[in-house]
């Protein structure tokens, strides 16, 4: 699936290793010299104000630079032991990485087809197999009970919170190793947000999750470790709780989580 094994510089429990990662859009630097490890089966939080490079980091992880004119990436990213900067089969890479966007994207297909799309793209044709996948993913995304009687209706006409859970179900239907969540709760009501957060805590058993959020408390509730990005730099990486009991080293980190920021 992926080629070009890189030297075993990272431990076996490391899922993603970014080394000296710099991301540019034209001449604008979105992220500068970031080096960090994301461990297997953890929720890795990324917090920071707008325009600090959080989303760019996620986009680099699934090689969206190949689909974005002007975006260029330097440095290395290892994913499951492979250097994704040099692999050729980007489609296989993206299939192993599920993405959830800030605004829910219910594709203009039926609820069923939304979730069955990825399995179909990779060749699953049998109705029974698809039925199983669709039910399993919708259940895991805590949406099944609300939609099981109308799987044929349009996914894009669900409410915002439901669409976001549909997006998560769709990401899960890829059977991903890595789940990237980009400020998923921005368009979702607090109750649904809590339901999705519960889902994520369970998913952690099977999937490694990167959670970009601008809600410091959400990172605190979910993330095992958290990185603080500020103005294109990774200021600090620590266990999440360390940000709140003052064990982090950089004063800017403490200021940010306490809301004392410029």
């Amino acid at each position: 699936m992926v080629d070009a094994r890189s030297p075993a510089t990272v431990g076996s429990d490391v899922k993603v290793a970014a080394r000296d990662l710099t991301i540019r859009y034209g001449s604008h630097v979105a992220l500068k010299d970031v080096t960090l490890d994301i461990r297997e089966n953890e929720i890795f939080g990324i917090i920071g104000p707008a325009n600090s490079g959080k989303t760019s980091f996620l986009r680099a992880l699934n090689r969206m630079d190949a689909f974005t004119t002007g975006m260029s990436v330097e440095g290395d990213i290892e994913f499951a032991g492979h250097n994704i900067r040099t692999i050729k089969n980007l489609y296989a890479l993206r299939k192993r990485i599920g993405v959830v966007f800030p605004l829910p994207v219910g594709l203009p297909l039926s609820i069923y087809d939304n979730v069955a799309l990825s399995p179909r793209l990779s060749g699953t044709k049998k109705r029974e197999d698809l039925d199983v996948i669709v039910e399993r993913c919708l259940r895991r995304a805590a949406l099944w009970d609300e939609v099981k009687d109308r799987l044929k209706s349009l996914g894009s006409l669900l409410s915002g919170g439901q669409q976001q859970r549909l997006t998560i179900a769709r990401a899960l239907s890829q059977d991903p190793d890595l789940l990237l969540l980009d400020e998923f709760s921005i368009a979702v009501d607090p109750v649904t947000t809590m339901r999705i957060e519960d889902v994520l805590k369970e998913l952690k058993q099977e999937v490694t999750i990167v959670l970009v959020t601008n809600l410091v408390q959400q990172a605190r509730r979910l993330a095992d470790r958290t990185a603080f990005f500020l103005m294109s730099e990774c200021v600090e990486i620590a266990e999440t709780e360390a940000f709140f009991d003052g064990r982090v080293k950089d004063q800017r980190s403490i200021d940010y989580v306490e809301g004392r920021f410029g």
């Binding site: 993206r94 594709l107 297909l109 990825s118 793209l121």
Partner: protein, 291 residues
């Protein structure tokens, strides 16, 4: 506090004046349409009959019907569509979904805009040079339809490209992130949601193709040919050219003076019917909006 000041009153007078002015402009705009339709219906209406529609012209077009021209127009439009729709849709998909934003793409877009601005008589001469002479199709339905196709390509391309671009970019990104190729994304998500818009463009193209005269008069349409064409290699009569010939070249005797109005009425009826279908289609589309 709410008493009208002099300024309020003056603003209201201006507002009323401007509104009236624009209303009059709008009315002016539809007067020609109404007059044309009225004249055609009054003068052409009595000409219409089953026989007029379904019999051959007789006595040097001063009597009889328009059947060969009617069938000829259907042939010309159908063959033109067969050529221009696949070509135009494919080009639009490339331009909208694949083409990088570079000088080459910009040059192609410029060329399409210019193609739309070329006068139809120039297309006609191009058709003579390219299809009639160079490709040796002769004066035939094939040559005439290909000329029409080249002329209407920009319409198909622009309509298709616009309906493709009406599909939100977020849908494409969601698919790409799943590991879908560009083509899988286009086939599963983009095309199904733009196909109705593309069809609307195609119907508009039909109505334009049916009415054109210049591009077909040297390439395949004949003024008087009271036989039905048997294939794309034959010449044919056409409604638009038939009308042109009747109105300008035949000194019509009194009893046939209203015949051209009948032909024009049928032609306009065809075009209006096509537009009505297209409008109905759009309304149906809005009814089942998907996002």
């Amino acid at each position: 506090m709410f008493d009208a000041t002099e300024l309020n009153a003056s603003n209201r007078r201006k507002q009323g004046l401007v509104k009236t002015l624009f209303l009059m402009m709008t009315v002016l705009l539809i007067i020609p349409v109404l007059v044309i339709l009225t004249v055609l219906i009054v003068k052409g209406g009595p000409v219409l009959s089953f026989e007029f529609l379904f019999s051959d012209p007789k006595d040097e077009m001063t009597a009889g019907g328009i059947f060969p021209a009617l069938i000829g127009t259907v042939w010309l439009v159908a063959v033109a569509l067969l050529a221009s729709v696949p070509l135009g849709v494919a080009a639009a998909i490339y331009l909208s979904e694949y083409a990088p934003d570079n000088w080459f793409t910009r040059a192609i877009n410029l060329a399409i805009i210019n193609l739309a601005g070329v006068p139809s008589i120039v297309h006609a001469l191009f058709g003579v040079g390219a299809f009639v002479l160079f490709f040796e199709f002769g004066t035939s339905i094939l040559a005439a339809s290909l000329t029409l196709a080249v002329m209407t390509l920009p319409v198909v391309i622009v309509a298709t490209r616009e309906s493709l671009q009406a599909v939100p970019q977020a849908f494409r990104e969601a698919c790409w992130n799943m590991g879908a190729t560009r083509w899988q994304t286009i086939r599963r998500v983009v095309l199904p949601n733009s196909v109705s818009g593309i069809l609307t463009g195609v119907i508009l193209e039909v109505s334009r193709t049916a009415g054109e005269t210049a591009p077909i008069m040297f390439t395949g349409a004949a003024i008087f040919l009271p036989f039905l064409p048997e294939g794309v290699g034959d010449q044919t009569m056409a409604m638009s050219l038939h009308l042109y010939a009747m109105a300008t070249q035949v000194p019509l005797p009194d009893h046939a003076a209203n015949l051209p109005y009948g032909v024009a009425l049928v032609l306009i009826g065809m075009v209006l019917a096509m537009n009505a279908i297209s409008i109905g289609f759009r309304m149906w589309l809005r009814g089942k909006k998907k996002w």
